[in-house]
């Protein structure tokens, strides 16, 4: 799933909400994202932390399926920061 904005733009984002799903096994990060996106307004950004390298593709596919915008991924220390803009 290609990112829609650059890494420097991602790094400048302050997400409306951060969901920490580190250590959670599939489908945990996706379910946390589902819960988390309900806590931000349409057009705002949710950041998901996951230590599972498969999560980014899962969140990308999920975003496309349900109408959110997958913005991209930044590396953390032992985890990844995944950014999604709520679309509906």
């Amino acid at each position: 799933m290609p990112a829609t904005i650059t890494e420097s733009e991602l790094a400048a984002i302050t997400a409306a909400k951060v969901v920490d799903a580190r250590g959670s096994a599939c489908p945990g990060p996706l379910l946390e994202a589902k819960k988390g996106i309900g806590g931000v307004s349409v057009g705002s950004i949710l950041e998901i932390w996951s230590s599972d390298p498969v999560t980014k593709s899962d969140i990308g596919a999920w975003s496309a399926k349900v109408g959110h915008e997958f913005l991209g991924v930044l590396p953390g220390e032992g985890y990844e920061r995944i950014f999604v803009r709520r679309g509906k």
Binding site: A25, C26, P27, G28, L31, K34, W62, V66
Partner: protein, 122 residues
């Protein structure tokens, strides 16, 4: 084609096969999170999973505990349908089943499957 997508998962494996028992709930939760309606149908040894306490301590390697997944599944609005003859032959009473499990027969399963976008058998 209905406006809402629907998947039916037929679950045939019980606690003796933790991975086979867990995968439909992994997929079912992901489907519900993706705004897809999900019906989980239990037949054969699969009915043991919806017996109260039936998944306690059950955890397939690499996946969350099955009890957690089942709770997530129900919280997300998934439906649980259980084969009546299958529980009867195993000495399981309807009152022994977890909350939300509905005892049905073949006709109901067929109605759910034929009205679904797709069906999967585990």
């Amino acid at each position: 084609m209905a406006d809402t997508e629907k998947l039916v998962f037929m679950v045939l494996h019980g606690p003796a096969h933790p991975e086979h028992a867990t995968l439909p709930f992994v997929m079912g939760c992901a489907a519900l999170a993706s705004d897809v309606e999900v019906v989980m149908g239990f037949q054969a040894d699969g009915v043991e999973l919806v017996r109260r306490g039936g998944v306690d301590g059950l955890e397939a390697p690499g996946f969350p505990p099955l009890a957690k997944l089942m709770n997530d599944f129900r919280e997300l609005g998934g439906k649980l349908l259980v084969c009546g003859p299958c529980i009867k032959s195993r000495g399981i009473a309807p009152d022994d089943l977890i909350e939300g499990a509905e005892v049905v027969a073949a006709g109901r399963f067929i109605a759910e499957i034929t009205s679904a976008t797709n069906s999967l058998v585990y």
